[in-house]
């Protein structure tokens, strides 16, 4: 997985990588050239007592050193840039991929793991590439140089390499194979930690109210311990790598001395050649050691690459059909016809053969008991889910035949949970229409009955909003979410129980203010309060995923027993009339 991923994402950086290779090659050759100069200083300078030679050779040496330094710095510059750019690209690829997901994929994989994959996992791959480009390109060059030189010294003795190199490859390969599952587990444990921590921050009020801090600390501690255990296990296997490589290479030097001795005794080898051969073996050893450093990073990067690729290759379940039209939806009409929906793998339908109609300037309300499928029904319109059978039409088009962007452009959704984003009030209000003017923002706030409290804030529209709108009350959040939808001026408004945290007076004022705004738009409202919906043009009564009545308040009061019950639970007979 790692190599195809790198091949694909490093392709744009072929040029810089070539530059790194060239400079590293020069650097390595300069490095190999230095020992020769060393020898010359000793043999011809120090031994002969010739200071002139020392100065001259020393000068050459310094020049070579400067060249080497310059080459290395260029290589590090380009290498670091390339590796970090790869990291940036991978992070963006993961982000884009997840942004294309439908709710289903996001729920299946889970946000915590997607976050880990987008940062920590990319970091592993990036580190490997950085090390590869800056420190380790020279390793193979040195190793190959060493092997060539060793062969030139004595072919017979070089036969040792045939023994040593496979031994190295096999032992290192075995170690890596043992590391891989451990690192896979390790990245999974990071997901778990992220998961627990995210949940605890989200639920901090409940945790504190129920005095469950110790319990949560234990839960986190358990996840943490599992992570530590697997990290220690992985580290233990990793600790094998260096000593093993050292041992194999040292043993081969010992063997070279032993067999070299025999070849010297039989007159096939010079003593000087043996010493040179040993030196080259050591050079190969150093190169392999450097490579080992990279190989230690390899298994973790490989596992991370798998996890990244999995995200990149996940196909969103909700995409435009082939031949989808990128049309501007111009009719404020919603038709849900015979729609059924079941969660994947679930036996029972959440919705069964549901019909719903919304027309411009009209309000269609959905009411029903807790868990009757109201939110799910609403989610079908912006294609957060696709129907399992039946059809959902928007402006006369099957939503599946439209580009998702065309669908979303027509819809203003106010979700049950307000979902404000960190930023300012204006950045949140401009969510659906970045070019909205300040006057439009104030107008929307006015409609949403939020003008007063925003005006009371010292920074007004620029007042900061923290993640999830945590610095606003539930009712304020809901009103900001409504204003956000109003700023967008969509064709179709979807209110999912959006008035529940509002007091009655605010609720009534808000609905009155909405009426002129939505004169040309279709409104679909889910609500619990009869007062919120009794003025609707059409009321759809849901019960356990089925429509048990459709009509106006008065029609339903007359012939829909479920509706009557709901109404009577809230109002007295005479109020309901």
């Amino acid at each position: 997985m790692l190599i195809p991923l790198l091949r694909r994402h490093l392709a744009p950086y072929r040029g810089p990588i070539a530059v790194v290779l060239v400079f590293q090659l020069v650097q390595t050759i300069a490095n190999l050239y230095l020992p020769g100069l060393n020898a010359e200083i000793i043999d011809r300078g120090v031994v002969e007592g010739d200071v002139g030679v020392i100065w001259r050779t020393g000068g050459v040496m310094l020049a070579v050193t400067v060249l080497q330094m310059a080459c290395t710095i260029v290589a590090v510059y380009v290498g670091a840039r390339t590796a970090m750019a790869l990291g940036r690209d991978l992070r963006a690829a993961v982000f884009d991929s997840v942004e294309g997901f439908a709710s289903r994929e996001l729920a299946e994989l889970g946000a915590p793991t997607l976050i880990t994959r987008g940062t920590n996992d990319v970091q592993q791959v990036q580190l490997l590439v950085f090390m590869g480009l800056t420190l380790l390109v020279s390793a193979p060059i040195m190793a190959v140089g060493g092997v060539v030189m060793a062969l030139r010294q004595d072919v017979e003795l070089s036969g040792l390499l045939v023994l040593v190199l496979p031994a190295l490859v096999v032992s290192v390969g075995l170690i890596i194979r043992r590391m891989r599952p451990l690192f896979r587990a390790m990245q999974g444990r990071i997901d778990d930690l992220n998961d627990v921590m995210r949940e605890q921050i989200q639920g901090v009020r409940v945790i504190r109210a129920f005095v469950k801090e110790d319990h949560e600390a234990r839960r986190f501690g358990a996840a943490n311990q599992q992570y530590v255990d697997v990290a220690v296990a992985a580290g233990r296997v990793m600790a094998l790598m260096f000593p093993t490589v050292m041992l194999v290479m040292n043993v081969s030097v010992v063997l070279a001395t032993w067999f070299g001795g025999y070849r010297i005794a039989s007159g096939d080898l010079q003593v000087g050649t043996l010493t040179a051969f040993q030196n080259y073996l050591v050079q190969i050893l150093m190169a392999v050691m450097m490579a080992t450093f990279m190989l230690m990073l390899w298994p973790r990067a490989e596992v991370s690459a798998e996890r990244i690729t999995e995200v990149l290759e996940t196909e969103p379940s909700i995409t435009a059909r082939p031949g989808a039209r990128d049309v501007v939806v111009d009719r404020a009409e919603v038709d849900v016809v015979g729609a059924s929906f079941a969660y994947p793998g679930a036996e029972q339908d959440v919705l069964h053969a549901v019909d719903l109609v919304a027309r411009p300037g009209e309000t269609t309300a959905v009411i029903g008991s807790t868990g009757s499928g109201k939110t799910t029904l609403l989610s079908l319109v912006p294609r957060l889910f696709d129907v399992t059978s039946g059809v959902v039409r928007l402006g006369g088009h099957d939503v599946r035949d439209l580009e998702p962007e065309s669908v979303w452009a027509a819809i203003g959704l106010v979700p049950q949970k307000a979902f404000l984003f960190s930023g300012t009030i204006s950045s949140n209000l401009r969510f659906g229409r970045p070019d909205a003017t300040e006057a439009e923002l104030w107008a929307a706030l006015e409609v949403a009955q939020a003008r007063d409290f925003v005006e009371a804030l010292p920074e007004r529209l620029d007042a900061p909003v923290s993640q999830g709108g945590a610095n606003f009350s539930g009712g304020q959040r809901q009103r900001l979410a409504i204003a956000r939808a109003v700023v967008k001026r969509p064709l179709v408004y979807l209110f999912d129980d959006s008035f529940s945290a509002l007091d009655y007076a605010t609720d009534a004022a808000l609905r009155a203010a909405l009426r002129p705004i939505t004169a040309d738009a279709a409104v679909v409202t889910v609500a619990q309060r009869v007062s919120t919906i009794r003025g609707a043009d059409r009321i759809v009564v849901l019960d356990e995923g089925r429509v048990v009545g459709t009509g106006t308040h008065h029609e339903l009061m007359a012939d829909c027993p479920v509706y009557r019950q709901i109404v009577l639970s809230q109002l007295t007979e005479e109020e309901a009339a």
Partner: protein, 640 residues
């Protein structure tokens, strides 16, 4: 969870900018490592042994080469001759050089290579190498354990810290940023420590050992070699000074990116439906580019260390050679000594280069450590009381008094001089427009926030004289926040009552009218739910949290919009159950549906942080004040 907040919230999202203190951070990391002294000393001892073995190894191999060389030399001369004869013979032939070599070597003419002793020596070398590898392995294992346990403790400390941080801190910080500190930063610290500790130790030992050898041979030349140390330190310091801020920037940028990613993924549906993807993507790109720039600069600047150190080492080498040669010419040193010295100065500068690279690697880890430690240093909630737990008498309990309470989230006062008494067993309903401070009252009651003035007492005891745990255990709360954790429905309901049995869980679920729904699920009470989980509607979540409060069986109930998403028929049934639950307990109920609070013993009407009215439903309707207006508005809503 309450009214608009002022400029205190500026600078939200980012980490608090505190002065960077590299040395202090290093000290704290080291002292954390030293918590397990035995392990650390073991690592050090093993390091010394492994280094010693690896220094001795080449010596022994050199001895083996000598045997080969001597044997080879001996073979060149006739059998039976003595070494002295050979030397004389060579000198007679004018081969002075060879004669010198033979004189210095262990030559036994005609003997050939002594394979027996060669075998022994090589076996010895082999053994040494095996030992060295074993020690190195052992050291590696111990290092892993030490480092991983240290960072494991660090993560636990972060968790413990989160439980002591004031809510205001958690509210204004991006979740993903906090998560990044616990995973990415601590992970980075572990990685860099693990890579550097053993190598740093070995390198330092090698430098010290070699320096000793050099001093022994020639103090003057040693001085030259040592002269490179300050140069090396200065250069490394210069580079570090520039790379350190970049490393800090890199990990800060990672946290910020994580924060944005977490938020975007959490609000996925809204981002999509509002077509906000382009803007979210643009913000992502900004943070991603910031990370790229910082990471690139950090890696590049720290990557310069190695080539620069190589350069310093080569300059040192040339200097030693030149001065050495001059000393030889003046007869102060022998050639052999200079040669040895040059070897040592190589051995000396190489680990020095390594140390410099390690230090830079360590920087990245310390930049992360700094971010984690900064979190651990954040101001905590006020410390718990140290007073002994007050003795509570028997009899009715649950008298709650707000006495001249003032509070604000920011500079603007939200609640001023509020007085409120709830007698044991009373149900107090709090009504009022959105943002009036209703939820704030429960936040204060549960001591999520500290008062600015006045006091709240529970059965006569100031709540600050109770530990938070004691205080909160008296309450059963259903918050607006219907948080479920990933776990079975059973565990979620039993959250507030440790060790509740299945029957009790089921009774609570029945009272909350959620039992029927749970039974229709394929796995019943074992069904796993979570925060994002689909399949459980908002209303059902509320019912589950109500069941949770029922089971906790508290002295005082706090219901904050507990049934706002529940349909009204179910709500009526739950109300009945709550009525039973409330009997004999003090309850605070916040609700918009006035029908649900009509029977409350006392209704408190709040406006802009003040109580404007209190009394029973009938009293308030007759009084014709704020409550009457709210009540009328409700009817106005009904009749439109």
């Amino acid at each position: 969870m309450s009214g608009g907040r002022g400029p205190a919230w500026a600078g939200m999202g980012g980490a608090p900018q505190k002065p960077r203190d590299f040395r202090g951070t290093l000290g704290r990391v080291v002292s954390r490592l030293l918590r397990d002294r035995f392990l650390v000393w073991s690592i050090a001892v093993l390091g010394v042994v492994a280094t010693a073995l690896s220094v001795v190894g080449p010596r022994i191999l050199g001895h083996a080469t000598d045997i080969v060389f001597n044997g080879y030399l001996s073979d060149q001369f006739p059998d039976g001759a003595t070494k002295a004869e050979v030397v004389r013979g060579l000198e007679a032939n004018g081969q002075d050089r060879l004669a010198d070599v033979v004189r210095g070597a262990d030559v036994r003419p005609g003997q050939g290579i002594d394979f027996t002793s060669l075998g022994w020596v090589l076996t010895g070398a082999l053994l040494l190498y095996v030992l060295a590898s074993l020690f190195m392995w052992w050291q590696g294992r111990l290092t892993t354990r030490t480092v991983q346990h240290m960072v494991g403790d660090l993560r636990d400390d972060v968790e413990a810290k989160l439980n002591r941080l004031p809510l205001s801190y958690l509210d204004r910080t991006e979740r993903g940023e906090l998560m990044s500190r616990t995973t990415n930063d601590i992970d980075n610290l572990a990685q860099s420590l693990q890579q550097t500790i053993s190598q740093l130790l070995t390198s330092v030992l090698t430098v010290v050992g070699t320096l000793a050898m050099m001093l022994w041979i020639s103090p003057l030349l040693a001085l030259v070699a040592v002269g490179t140390i300050p140069v090396a330190i200065w250069l490394t310091g210069q580079i570090m000074k520039r790379s350190q801020p970049q490393f800090v920037a890199q990990w800060t940028a990672t946290g910020r990116l994580n924060g944005h990613v977490e938020e975007t993924f959490t609000g996925h549906e809204v981002v999509k439906v509002f077509g906000r993807q382009r803007e979210m993507r643009a913000e992502f790109e900004r943070r991603n580019d910031a990370l790229f720039t910082a990471a690139f600069k950090a890696q590049f600047i720290s990557g310069i260390v190695q080539p620069v150190m190589m350069f310093v080492s080569n300059v040192n080498y040339v200097l030693v050679a030149v001065i050495g040669a001059v000393r030889v010419a003046s007869g102060a040193l022998t050639i052999g000594e200079v040669q040895a010295f040059i070897q040592y100065s190589r051995q000396f500068t190489q680990p020095l280069t390594q140390i410099a690279s390690m230090v830079n690697l360590l920087q990245s880890g310390l930049a992360s450590a700094e971010r984690v430690l900064a979190l651990l240093d954040e101001d905590e909630e006020l410390p718990e009381t140290t007073l002994p737990s007050p003795v509570r008498g028997a009899g009715p309990r649950g008298r709650v008094v707000f006495d001249d309470v003032s509070f604000s989230y920011g500079p603007d006062p939200l609640i001023e001089h509020l007085d409120l008494v709830a007698e044991p067993g009373q149900t107090v309903a709090i009504v009022g427009p959105t943002g009036a401070g209703k939820t704030t009252l429960t936040n204060l009651l549960l001591r999520f926030y500290e008062l600015d003035g006045g006091r709240i007492t529970l059965d006569g005891t100031d709540i600050t004289d109770l530990t938070r745990a004691e205080l909160r255990r008296s309450f059963g709360v259903v918050l607006q926040d219907t948080w479920l954790f990933r776990g079975s429905i059973r565990d979620n309901i039993a959250y507030g009552a440790d060790g509740a049995d299945d029957a009790a869980v089921q009774r609570a679920a029945e009272a909350a009218h959620i039992d029927h729904f749970v039974r229709t699920l394929p796995d019943g009470y074992d069904t796993v739910v979570d925060e994002a989980g689909s399949g459980v509607s908002a209303g059902q979540r509320q019912l589950l949290t109500i069941a949770r409060a029922f089971l906790a069986d508290p002295a005082i109930l706090v219901l904050d919009e507990a049934t706002s998403s529940v349909d009204t028929r179910t709500e009526a049934l739950v109300q009945e159950a709550m009525e039973r639950l409330r009997s004999g307990r003090t309850s605070f109920v916040i609700a918009h549906r006035l029908s649900t609070i009509r029977d409350a013993d006392r209704i408190v009407v709040m406006e802009q942080g003040r109580i404007v009215e209190q009394g029973s439903h009938d009293e308030l309707v007759t009084a014709g004040g704020a409550y009457e207006r709210l009540y009328a508005a409700q009817f106005a809503g009904l009749t439109t």
